[in-house]
Structures are given as C-alpha cells and as structure tokens.
C-alpha cells in the first residue's frame, strides 16, 4: 500500500515511473514530485503507470492539476502504459477526452 516514484531526467523529457497504489495517502507525495516537473517550459513529462495496480479520484486530481500546470507553463503531460482498471476511471469521468493517454493499454488479457 505504498507508491514508489522514480524520476529519470533527460534533456527535454522527464520519465516518472510509478509503482504501487495511488490513493489519499500516496497522492500528496506524487503531486509534490510531479508538479515541479511540469513547470519547465517545453518539457515532456511522461508518467509510466505500468506498475500502478490501484488508483482512485485522488490520483485523478493529481493528474488534473499536473495537466493544468502544463497549460500554464507550455509543457506536456503524457500518461503511458496504463492498466485497464485505471484507464476505466479516466473513461468514466470523461478525462480520456482531455488527457494524453497512451492507447496501448497494458495488463488487459
């Protein structure tokens, strides 16, 4: 019931690899790590969700604020390798319309 956050910085891109669960307990930590990355102009922030097996609305909230921040600072947010269960929440809430989500959903058999 924890979340591991690994950030790899390249010149114009940061890859944020997440592993674990995103909920009310872990979301604040994620927000703290993710938001500063979106404040660099021209940067692409790629969030790898391959190993996130649980997420709820607290996670949606973090990604919404990150998306807002990319609009303000002219950077880009990409969510990749999303598990089917997590993707479902984005679909239900209509957020698939505005988020850049890699369509190759993993974890679905």
């Amino acid at each position: 019931m924890n979340l591991t956050i690994d950030v790899t910085n390249k010149e114009h891109k940061s890859v944020v690899s997440l592993s674990g669960e995103i909920d009310a307990f872990t979301a604040p930590k994620l927000k703290e790590e993710l938001l500063p990355l979106t404040k660099e102009e021209g940067k692409t922030v790629e969030v790898d969700l391959n190993n996130v097996n649980y997420m709820d609305s607290t996670g949606l909230g973090v990604f919404i604020s990150a998306l807002k921040s990319t609009k303000e600072h002219d950077s880009e947010l990409k969510l990749v390798h999303m598990q089917e269960r997590v993707h479902r929440l984005f679909k239900i809430t209509g957020l698939t319309e505005i988020m850049n989500i890699d369509s190759t959903v993993q974890g679905g058999i």
């Binding site: 609305s57 607290t58 919404i64 998306l67 809430t93 319309e97």
Partner: protein, 158 residues
C-alpha cells in the same frame, strides 16, 4: 428479517488507513464470491467514501474515527461509512459532482469532487444522510453468475 453477517471496522480518520479498509473490503467481497471486476469497483468506492470522510469531517483536528459496517447478505454487500465528526454541506457537495463535459474548460476542471460521482457510478445503490455526521450507505449486488456466499465452487465470471 433476512439473515446477514455484520462486520464492523473502526479506523482513525487518517489517509494512511484508507488502504487498510480497502484491503478489508476486498477480503469480504472475495469471500462472498464477487468477480475480480466487482471487487476492484468496491475497492475504489470504499476508498472514495473513506477519503471523503477523512477530508470533510475532520478538517479542524487530526483526531476522530470512521466507522465502517459491512452487511453481508446472500445476494449483496451493503457498506456503511460513518463519520461522527462535524458534517459538511451536502447540497454543496452534490452540486459539485458529475463527469467532465467536453465543453468544460480545462481551467475549470475540479481537482476533487470526482469521489461521490465514482461511488455512484461503481455501486448499484448509494444513499447519503447528513443528519448526524455523514453516513454513506452503498450496496453492490452479486450478479447471478457469481457464486453466492455458501457456494463452494469457483466463480465462472472471468
């Protein structure tokens, strides 16, 4: 009155206990024979309810408890989440929920407020009372092709 088992869990109103209740819920639902998909839905719904209770009811102080009651029936699971702390303005919360609409501006997107909407989307029945603290009562039915609580077979739902 129809027979049911009742399980009660009490946790401190702190975010670190959301996962604990999620695991308990998953255990009970698994025992009842809910499908994998339904268990995942239940896990999100219960976490949203606890998160709300943690956030709204105990703004002022770190102390307080949340009581979760599970009513285990042969055809359904009823979950009650109660905080006995201060209550929040229910009508205010209700008007804030709903899915994102395509014509909404990104700037107007709510960073919170999806919680109750998700509970409603993922459960079969949801009732909220704010008379004494806030009580959320939510129900999920076992679908027919899932194994009932006395079943000793393997679920056929994949």
């Amino acid at each position: 009155m129809e027979p049911f088992d009742f399980v009660e869990v009490k946790v401190p109103a702190k975010p670190e206990y959301v996962g604990v209740v999620r695991l308990s819920t998953s255990g009970i639902a698994n025992r009842m024979g809910f499908s994998y998909e339904d268990i995942e839905d239940l896990k999100v719904a219960i976490s949203e309810a606890i998160t709300n209770a943690v956030k709204h009811a105990y703004k002022e102080t770190d102390e307080g408890e949340i009581t979760i009651g599970f009513g285990v029936y042969s055809d359904r699971l009823e979950i009650m989440v109660a905080d006995h702390g201060g209550s929040f303005d229910l009508s205010n919360v209700k008007k804030d929920i709903g899915p994102y609409q395509q014509n909404d501006a990104i700037e107007d997107l709510r960073e919170g407020g999806f919680g109750l909407f998700l509970i409603d989307a993922l459960m079969d029945k949801v009732e909220i009372s704010s008379r004494y603290g806030v009580i959320v009562l939510m129900t999920k039915y076992l679908s027919e092709n899932e194994v009932g609580q006395d079943g000793d077979q393997i679920s056929t739902t994949q």
